[in-house]
C-alpha cells in the first residue's frame, strides 16, 4: 500500500500528473485518481439521457427510467441486485437532471469489480418488471406529494417556472403526478432502448485502486457497449430574461413558515465571467454566516434562521437567487430587505476587502472540498463536463486572484436586475 506522508497543499490537489484520463473505443471517457489513505473507492459519472428528452405529457420519463434500472435485469432480480450491494455495504444509485442522468457508488476497493458489474448490468440490461415499476410509481407519486408540501421545494419550482417560462429549464425533472401517471412500462423500455448508450458517458473512479487498473476494469465492464440509435441531445432554445417583474405565491395551507426564492438568471459554467459571479455571490450571500444577505436578514433583523444567495451554473443559462424562510407576517419585510441588498449589490458592487476575503476563502477551502474521494470525483466530473482542463485545480488560485471588483460589478449588472426580479413564495 502506498502512503503519503504530509503532502504540501499544492500536491494534494488533483492535476494532469496524477489524473488518468482514457477514452474507450466506444467513446466512454474514464477519469481515475488513486487515494490509498482509506480502503474504499468512489465511482460516479453521467450519460446524456436527461429530462430534455421528456415529452411534455410524460415529464419525468428520464428520471423514472433511471430510477427503475435497479429494479431487475436479465441477470438479477431486484432482491439479488440489492443483496449483492448490501451484503458488502456498497452503494449504487442513479439520478436525473435536465442534461444527463448520473450514477454514484461506493464500496471497499476489493468490491469495485462487483460495483462495475452491477453498473454495467443495470445500465445495459434492465427489464423494467411491471410489479416493480408500479411499486416505484407509487414511491415517485408519494415523493411528489411530499414535494407539494415542502415550502422551499415549491418556492424553487415556482421560481424556475417564472424565470424560464417557455424554456425547458422551467420543467422539474421529476415531473408532476399526472405526467408520471401517463408513463407506461413500454415508455421506459423504449426510452432506455433509444437513449442509453456509451455516447457522452463519463465515469470517474477515485480511491484505493491503481488508475490504470480502474480504467481496465471499466473497459471490461462497459467497453463492449454500443447503441447506434442514441441521438444527439436536442439543442437548447434561446432564453430571454424577464422583461418585467414576475411574482407568484403558491399556497400551502397549515404551514408555519413561508419560503422565499427571488432573483434572476445567472451565467453558464463555461462563461468567462463565471468566477467573478461566484465570488460576487459569495460576498452577497455565502461568505461566513451567509454574506450580506445573512447579515441583514438574520443577524441584524432576526427574521430568518436561513437566508443566503446561490449561483446555479451548468451547461445552459443558470440562476442567481436568494432563499430565505420566514414567518408569514415578516414576508414583505424580508422581501424588501433582500431587494435592498440586490440594489446595493448592482449599484456599489463589492469592496476590495470583501472581494479579497472571498478570494482567500475560495482558495483556502479547496483542499477541504477535495479531501474525500467523493469530493475529488465530483471535481473530475466538472473538469470533463465543462472542459476546464486537468490542471484546473492547480491553476485555480491564480484564476480566483485575477478577478477584480470591476469584474464583479459588471457580471452583477449583467444578470441581476432589481427592477425585473422573479419572486416566488410558498407557504400558508
Amino acid at each position: 500500500m502506498k502512503t503519503n506522508p504530509s503532502p504540501s497543499p499544492s500536491h494534494s490537489l488533483p492535476g494532469s500528473d496524477d489524473i488518468t484520463r482514457a477514452v474507450l473505443d466506444n467513446g466512454i471517457v474514464v477519469l481515475a485518481r488513486a487515494n490509498f489513505n482509506s480502503p474504499s473507492v468512489y465511482l460516479s459519472g453521467y450519460f446524456s439521457a436527461g429530462s430534455l428528452f421528456d415529452p411534455h405529457e410524460k415529464l419525468g420519463l428520464a428520471s423514472f427510467t433511471a430510477s427503475a434500472l435497479m429494479r431487475g435485469t436479465q441477470k438479477r432480480d431486484f432482491q439479488e441486485i440489492y443483496d449483492a450491494l448490501e451484503s458488502v455495504a456498497a452503494h449504487l444509485g442513479f439520478s436525473t437532471s435536465v442534461h444527463s442522468s448520473g450514477f454514484s457508488g461506493r464500496a471497499l476497493a476489493e468490491d469495485l469489480p462487483l460495483l462495475l458489474d452491477l453498473l454495467s448490468d443495470t445500465l445495459r440490461e434492465p427489464l423494467f418488471p411491471e410489479t416493480q415499476v408500479e411499486r416505484l410509481r407509487a414511491q415517485i407519486l408519494t415523493g411528489l406529494a411530499i414535494r407539494a408540501q415542502d415550502t422551499s421545494e415549491m418556492a424553487r419550482l415556482v421560481f424556475d417556472e417564472l424565470l424560464y417560462a417557455d424554456h425547458p429549464y422551467a420543467r422539474p425533472e421529476d415531473g408532476f403526478p399526472e405526467t408520471i401517471q401517463n408513463i407506461t412500462v413500454n415508455d421506459l423500455i423504449q426510452f432506455h432502448r433509444i437513449h442509453y448508450g456509451p455516447r457522452g458517458m463519463v465515469i470517474t473512479i477515485v480511491g484505493a485502486v491503481e488508475p490504470q487498473q480502474a480504467v481496465e476494469q471499466v473497459r471490461q465492464a462497459l467497453g463492449g457497449w454500443q447503441n447506434p440509435l442514441q441521438p444527439e441531445p436536442p439543442p437548447l432554445p434561446p432564453f430571454c430574461p424577464p422583461d418585467k417583474p414576475r411574482r407568484r405565491h403558491h399556497a400551502i395551507p397549515g404551514k408555519s413558515q413561508v419560503d422565499i426564492d427571488m432573483g434572476g438568471s445567472g451565467p453558464m459554467r463555461r462563461d468567462p465571467d463565471y468566477l467573478a459571479a461566484a465570488l460576487g455571490n459569495s460576498v452577497l450571500g455565502q461568505f461566513g454566516l451567509m454574506g450580506r444577505i445573512g447579515d441583514i436578514v438574520r443577524e441584524r433583523s432576526g427574521l430568518a434562521y436561513y437566508a443566503y444567495s446561490s449561483l446555479n451554473a451548468g451547461l445552459g443559462p443558470g440562476t442567481w437567487d436568494v432563499c430565505a424562510g420566514v414567518n408569514p407576517s415578516n414576508l414583505e419585510k424580508a422581501v424588501d430587505l433582500i431587494r435592498g441588498e440586490l440594489i446595493r449589490f448592482v449599484t456599489e458592487g463589492v469592496t476590495e476587502q470583501e472581494l479579497a476575503d472571498s478570494q482567500a476563502n475560495f482558495i483556502g477551502r479547496l483542499p477541504l472540498s477535495l479531501e474525500s474521494n467523493a469530493g475529488v470525483a465530483n471535481a473530475l466530473l466538472s473538469i470533463e463536463r465543462y472542459g476546464l482542463g486537468l490542471d484546473y485545480y492547480r491553476e485555480y488560485a491564480g484564476l480566483v486572484q485575477a478577478v477584480t471588483p470591476e469584474d464583479v460589478l459588471a457580471v452583477a449588472r449583467k444578470f441581476i436586475d432589481p427592477e425585473r426580479l422573479v419572486i416566488a413564495t410558498a407557504g400558508p
Binding site: R135, K255, G302, D357, E371
Partner: protein, 430 residues
C-alpha cells in the same frame, strides 16, 4: 489505526489527539457535556440557544471578526446541540489552525451575550422552530418523544418549546453558559496533520490558565418503566401518512447496545454512525423493507437508535403507501418483530451485519473532520475506547443475543406508536 494521545490538564480539560497525515488539514473540536437533558421545564431549548449566542462574539473576537477570520482561511466551522452534548468545531488548513484554538478558548469564557443580540437571536431560533414545524416528521417525532418520556428531560426536542423560547431571558442564557462552559466539563478533540507534542503545547498555552468551575448540576430524573403501549395521532397538512414507533432501548454503554445494533442492521438496514462523509448503503434487503415496501404496504422504511448517556429510543419511521391504512402496516410490522423474537437469526445474517459495519467505518475514515468528531463524540456517552472496541464488540454478538434483545426491548408495552394523519387525504381529519 493511528495512536491516540489522551491527556487531562490541571483544570480538568480532557484532550484527545490523533495525528493523520493524509491531507494538510486539521479538525479541532470542543465538546461540552450539556444538552437538552440538562434543561428544566420553562427553559427548554436553552442549550441550543446558548450555542447560537456563541457565534455572537467576545470583546476580543467580535462576531464579524471571528466569522471573517475563519472564512478567509478557507475553514469550515459549525456547532451542534443534542440531547447530551453541545459541540463546536473548525476544520482548517493545517497552518491556520491556531486561530481555532484561540477563539474556542476565548469563547469558553468570554462570550458577551449582548441583550440586543439575545433579542434578535430569539426570533431567529423561533424561525428555526417554525421551519421544523413545516415538516410532518418533526411534528410526529416531537409528539412521540414527549409521550415516551414523561419524567426524563429527553421529553422535549432540542430546539425547545415555543413557550420557553418566548420566556428565556438573557440572564438565563448567560447563567447556563457560565454553569456548563468550563474546562472540567469539556473535551478537546483534534485530528489531522500536526505533531502531537507541538499541538499539545499550543493547546496548553491557550487553555491551561482557564480556571475550572464548580461541578455542573445534573438533572437526575430517571424515566419509570412504561406500563403499556401508548398510541397517539398527530394531524396536519399533506397527503402522506407516516408511522413512527419508538421502543425504549438501553444507552450506548450498555452491553445490549451491540446486539441491538446487529438487530437494527437486519430489521431496517445498517445505520451509519458517521456525522461527516462516508455515506451508507441502502436497506432494500432488510426485513422490514421486504415485509412493508415489497408488499406495497409502505413506500419507505428506516430505523435506528442513537448513542446516548441515558436510555433513549429505537425509532422506526414508515411512510405509508397511499392506498393503505396505517393499521395494516402495523400488523405487518408486528409480524416481523415477532419473527425476530421467535426465530433465531442465522450466523450468516450476523456476519453480514458486521461486514456492513466494517465498510461504513472505512468510508468514515476518508474524512478527517469525521475522525475528529469520533474522538470527542464517543467521550460524551462512553469513552474513545468504546469506539475502538466497537467492531470487536459487534463481532462477538451471537444469534441468541439478538433474539434475547428482540424479546426484551421490542415489546408493545415498551413502545409508543405515533401516526401522522394528513388532513389532505380521503377522510378529512383536520
Amino acid at each position: 489505526m493511528p495512536e491516540i494521545t489522551e491527556i487531562k490538564l490541571q483544570n480538568g480539560l480532557k484532550i484527545l489527539l490523533k495525528e493523520i497525515h493524509t491531507a494538510p488539514i486539521i479538525s479541532f473540536w470542543v465538546w461540552y457535556r450539556v444538552g437538552s437533558r440538562d434543561e428544566i421545564n420553562g427553559q427548554t431549548g436553552i442549550s441550543h440557544w446558548v450555542e447560537h449566542m456563541q457565534f455572537k462574539g467576545t470583546p476580543r473576537f467580535p462576531a464579524s471578526v471571528l466569522d471573517r477570520a475563519i472564512s478567509r482561511d478557507g475553514g469550515m466551522w459549525n456547532a451542534f446541540t443534542y440531547l447530551d452534548w453541545t459541540t463546536y468545531f473548525e476544520t482548517m488548513p493545517a497552518d491556520k489552525i491556531e486561530l481555532a484554538l484561540h477563539l474556542e478558548a476565548d469563547r469558553m469564557v468570554n462570550s458577551t451575550f449582548d441583550p440586543q443580540e439575545v433579542a434578535s437571536e430569539r426570533t431567529v431560533v423561533i424561525s428555526e422552530r417554525e421551519g421544523n414545524e413545516n415538516e410532518p416528521l418533526f411534528l410526529l417525532g416531537e409528539a412521540v418523544q414527549a409521550a415516551a418520556f414523561r419524567v426524563h428531560p429527553y421529553h422535549h426536542e432540542v430546539i425547545g418549546d415555543l413557550a420557553d423560547l418566548h420566556l428565556i431571558s438573557r440572564d438565563d442564557l448567560y447563567n447556563h453558559y457560565r454553569t456548563y462552559y468550563t474546562p472540567n466539563n469539556a473535551v478537546v478533540a483534534v485530528a489531522g496533520d500536526f505533531e502531537t507534542q507541538v499541538m499539545l503545547q499550543k493547546i496548553r498555552s491557550f487553555y491551561e490558565d482557564i480556571p475550572p468551575g464548580p461541578e455542573p448540576p445534573r438533572l437526575v430524573r430517571e424515566e419509570p418503566p412504561q406500563r403499556g403501549e401508548i398510541r397517539l395521532t398527530v394531524e396536519g397538512p399533506g397527503e402522506t401518512t407516516y408511522i413512527q414507533t419508538a421502543y425504549h432501548c438501553p444507552p450506548a454503554a450498555h452491553p445490549d447496545f451491540f446486539p441491538l445494533t446487529v438487530l437494527d442492521s437486519l430489521l431496517t438496514g445498517p445505520s451509519s454512525l458517521n456525522m461527516f462523509g462516508g455515506g451508507g448503503t441502502s436497506n432494500r434487503t432488510s426485513r422490514l423493507y421486504r415485509a412493508l415496501v415489497e408488499k406495497d404496504l409502505a413506500v419507505s422504511v428506516g430505523g435506528g437508535m442513537m448513542a446516548t448517556i441515558d436510555p433513549y429510543l429505537y425509532n422506526i419511521t414508515i411512510t405509508v403507501h397511499p392506498q393503505r391504512k396505517p393499521e395494516e402496516v402495523l400488523i405487518a410490522l408486528d409480524t416481523e418483530i415477532g419473527r425476530l423474537q421467535q426465530e433465531r437469526v442465522t450466523e450468516a445474517e450476523v456476519a453480514r451485519a458486521i461486514k456492513q459495519a466494517r465498510a461504513l467505518f472505512a468510508y468514515g475514515s476518508e474524512n478527517i473532520t469525521n475522525q475528529a468528531f469520533w474522538l470527542g463524540y464517543a467521550e460524551m456517552f462512553a469513552s474513545y475506547q468504546w469506539f475502538l472496541n466497537y467492531l470487536e464488540r459487534l463481532a462477538s454478538v451471537t444469534p441468541e443475543e439478538v433474539q434475547r434483545v428482540a424479546q426484551t426491548y421490542f415489546r408493545p408495552q415498551n413502545r409508543v406508536v405515533g401516526i401522522y394523519l394528513p388532513s389532505g387525504s380521503g377522510d378529512k381529519t383536520a
